[in-house]
Symmetry: C2
Subunit: 412 residues, 2 copies
């Protein structure tokens, strides 16, 4: 139980198992919890992140760059780790920019997208020398003013709101009326405006959806994205040098989900790349991924504090809850609640001999981490592990809810 025991070569959901304990980064949970000094915590497995990047490199065409979307998990150590693995960072706030600039990633490979960028954020982005993916004419005008004052030529790309969306995606980021980007049909006039002002035009950012598990749908969206970029490039003041075709690669959260066929996605993109090379010869195509790179490499770990039977049902009450892992409780934008994968972290491989509800310590019935799940019999002190917690976990949760202690994070 303490990591001194015999090593077990088995793995569970990618993670090492040592003496029936999950071992993120090879450190069994009891020892990891002792090192962290508390539960709950999030643990991210460095090797699993590296492995995922290697898988992407293997399957994506060689001339496609791989960017990390910092919003998925902005833990500084993790972003530092990724700085040595990916080709660029994409940001959604000035806060993320601070983290990104503290790494070795050059400013030229960092871009900043997001609606409603304030003048302060734009000013900081200009000072940092990163690329701004502009989302509106107002942003362009503000940037032009900032550039004039700073005597700097600004690097801009256009975030385009396409007229299509990623079929079957968990979240639709494009198509129809949207707050994101500039409607595709307005882009030609915006490109003209850019040409008349002192900008360094880099290219396009076209994002049509996220959390897609269907390779064919992703390939279709990528193909349409490439077509749209080629079409819009006719109006550009200079050749397209950057083409961010977005991400959209999902991970399986629920029993009903089937993992994305990455080889098929890579093959699909390879088939469309010749069109880019022919029509946009100077363009670096980049894929922007967040969740897909880190989501499956992270677990949320809490401890059983109480075990209770109420009217025939077993409740494992933990020191964690939805204040740390909101999405796992089914309360963050989900219409239908389903269980995330959950295990008793020090009883991996033991037979599931009871049906239990795993709940958090909050005074609300929403705080349900696993509903009627078959699990090995757990006792007070055992570890509850929620998988698929590496992305949009801690930062997407209401940590101040009910004023409980803040969870820790560890990259191991």
């Amino acid at each position: 139980m303490t990591g001194t025991g015999q090593k077990d070569s088995q793995r569970w959901r990618g993670f090492q198992i040592i003496d029936a304990c999950l071992a993120p980064g090879g450190v069994p949970l009891p020892r990891l919890a002792a090192r962290v000094g508390q539960t709950p915590f999030f643990a991210y497995d460095r090797a699993l992140i590296s492995q995922r990047v290697a898988d992407l490199r293997k399957h994506l065409p060689d001339d496609v760059a791989l960017n990390y979307a910092v919003k998925a998990n902005p833990m500084p150590a993790l972003v530092q780790h990724l700085a040595g693995l990916v080709d660029g960072f994409d940001l959604a706030s000035a806060g993320e920019m601070m983290t990104a600039l503290d790494t070795t990633m050059p400013a030229e490979r960092i871009s900043f997208a997001g609606p409603g960028k304030t003048r302060d954020e734009l000013t900081r982005a200009v000072a940092a020398g990163i690329t701004v993916n502009v989302e509106s004419e107002r942003e362009l005008e503000t940037l032009s003013e900032i550039g004039r004052k700073a005597g700097q030529r600004l690097r801009v790309a256009i975030r385009v709101n396409p007229d299509f969306e990623l079929r079957g995606s968990g979240m639709r980021m494009g198509g129809g009326a949207k707050q994101f980007g500039i409607d595709a049909e307005r882009v030609p006039q915006v490109l003209r405006w850019i040409g008349q002002h002192d900008f360094e035009f880099l290219g396009f950012h076209i994002f049509s959806g996220s959390q897609g598990l269907n390779a064919a749908a992703i390939t279709e969206a990528q193909s349409k994205t490439i077509d749209l970029a080629i079409e819009l490039s006719a109006h550009a003041p200079s050749p397209v040098r950057k083409l961010n075709i977005g991400g959209g690669f999902g991970i399986p959260y629920f029993d009903v989900d089937v993992a994305l066929d990455l080889a098929a996605v890579g093959q699909g993109l390879a088939e469309h790349m010749p069109r880019v090379r022919a029509k946009l010869p100077k363009a670096q195509v980049m894929v922007e991924l967040g969740r897909y790179i880190v989501g499956e490499a992270g677990v949320y770990v809490c401890r059983v504090v109480d075990r209770k039977e109420s009217r025939g049902q077993v409740f494992l009450i933990t020191d964690g809850g939805l204040h740390h892992q909101l999405a796992a409780s089914g309360n963050f934008g989900q219409v239908l609640r389903r269980n995330y994968p959950v295990s008793i972290g020090n009883r991996i491989g033991q037979a599931a001999d009871e049906t239990a509800n795993v709940v958090g310590c909050l005074c609300t019935p929403l705080d349900l981490l696993a509903s009627k799940m078959d699990l090995p019999h757990a006792v007070v002190g055992d570890f509850v592990v929620i998988f698929q917690s590496g992305a949009y976990g801690l930062t997407a949760s209401p940590t101040a809810f009910l004023s409980h202690p803040h969870p820790s994070e560890v990259l191991v």
Copy 2:
């Protein structure tokens, strides 16, 4: 616009209006924003909170005590304000306990409920001398150990999981199998155990639901609660001195909601109080309210950063979003998204002459603060106000999501 103009006697949703500007605590928004130094922020109106407590005092029977559930809004200044107005505080964590003990509220009037209390939390509660509402046999045993070590006689009440629930409540806290409290049918044996150990038994905490808008349903639940307490008291080792009958008083969030008839609730409870006086003559009945006391006294204020038309729809893009007011985006446990009441805070009373979507600055389509709402034409720099934001606003939101700056809070 700066608070120096002529005063307007009109009010909007309880708040003063000065020169067409919402004026929480009598300070018009432009001036309040200048004082706070940023948007977004939450503003809580001290007078509206006091008024709500006065309304409760007017309608509830004189011998019913009024407790504040700190979890609804733990802002220290607000809790300080309420310390002078209510009869007690109810807590859900040791973090809330720190805030409560920093006020003038005596420890004897503070109680701590919640599933999964850790040994550390229980030890701190014992040291503070507050009442623990025990939720399980394990908590009782742990408390007994802590008490022996501390040489202290412990004040405990039993949180009962009733066998009924508040009809039509937004959240069901009792009835069926639950992580909350001890099942009513097991309470007699637990009372026996308490009598055999060195505890000061205070009474019961019975909570059957929250966010109820139907006075008759609340009265019915209160009546059943009183019956259950009387029934259980037969097994108690000493007379019941505290009977916390919970809260459940809701506030209207949506167009379709009708405000709770507080007079009817007060009258209903008055009709059942003689039964308490006869059967539990030493019992102080208390109502525990959070949302109802502070929810309508708070607004969330952000600013329009961009204004954009996309494929025929208007988008007002703000510097706020779901990372500060998650429930208003419809993503915190809601099945069906409805608009919270939203106004342009410096155009109160102006005709609604366009239909707009109000969105936040996050890179996610979930970040929708108002969908297709009729509003006066707003421009960049205008204030967007979300009402009904005094409870479960800031602390129930994922503030670290996308690493944007933290919002401020002001009690005014």
